[in-house]
């Protein structure tokens, strides 16, 4: 799925990284606990979250993720956007709630990726 399609499905605003909007992504993770995100080593390209602090961007960067979707109408502070810009990560902001956002993307073919065995 293209990041552009995610933005359309979630009626989301593109807050930064528009130059990467046609990149393809194959899996996503919806989570508000960063160490749970970090527990999945395989390519997780999209992070859907209701949190809006700089550690969300660093977590995504550590995992080589390409896109963060902020749900529930959250608008991230400027420094959060600046960090994402620097890391080449696309930021989308949607009014959808977490459950609905994940459901829409999953129903349209964006998978959850695989879990690493401890």
């Amino acid at each position: 799925m293209k990041i552009r399609t995610i933005a359309e499905l979630l009626d989301a605003k593109v807050l930064c990284g528009a130059e990467n909007i046609d990149k393809e992504v194959h899996s996503a993770c919806g989570c508000d606990m960063m160490s749970d995100v970090l527990a999945f080593v395989k390519e997780q390209a999209v992070l859907i979250t209701g949190l809006c602090n700089p550690q969300v961007v660093r977590t995504a960067e550590m995992m080589d993720m390409r896109c963060i979707v902020f749900v529930r109408g959250k608008t991230p502070p400027k420094e959060v956007i600046a960090l994402a810009e620097d890391a080449g990560i696309v930021i989308l902001a949607s009014n959808e709630r977490m459950y609905v956002a994940c459901g829409k993307l999953y129903a349209n073919g964006l998978s959850g990726g695989s879990v690493v065995n401890g």
């Binding site: 606990m33 080593v41 969300v56 550590m62 401890g118």
Partner: protein, 140 residues
């Protein structure tokens, strides 16, 4: 055997916003050195979890990273409260993080287990009231 490059970072315990900057730096440096993407991800995630732990549980500390061509060593040292029961702390889901930390997205009790999972060797030395030192190695 091979040449070693060392990096040292002071981790500020009062600043949640800057927590993780050292790991971002290491990630960029390892990229420049052309390590495999999977190795870089494992090193940077393990270091990031450790860095965050030093900020939220131990009031900061230091990080030393030694890069050899066949392995990367990470040493995280703090003078925080120490870990009374290391086996318990290593269990998935065990956390003493308060609610204000949880609301920032940390406190799932997954950090130490993640560090163990992503590294080829990990050793924790901790003394209550003195501090904690964590040694991790990732083979390249």
């Amino acid at each position: 055997m091979a040449d070693c490059v060392n990096f040292h970072f002071d981790i500020d315990g009062d600043n949640f916003t800057s927590a993780g900057e050292a790991s971002v730096r290491i990630k960029k440096l390892l990229r420049q050195m052309e390590f495999d993407a999977e190795i870089i991800r494992r090193v940077s995630v393990a270091m990031y979890e450790g860095e965050i732990n030093m900020v939220i549980h131990a009031d900061g500390g230091t990080a030393d990273v030694n890069v050899y061509c066949d392995r990367i060593e990470i040493i995280l040292k703090d003078n925080g409260p120490g870990i009374p029961d290391i086996n318990l702390a290593m269990q998935e889901g065990y956390s003493t993080a308060p609610d204000n930390i949880r609301s920032l997205g940390f406190g799932a009790g997954m950090g130490l287990p993640n560090m163990k999972r992503y590294t080829d060797g990990m050793k924790i030395e901790s003394e209550v009231g003195k501090g904690t030192t964590i040694y991790m190695t990732v083979n390249a």
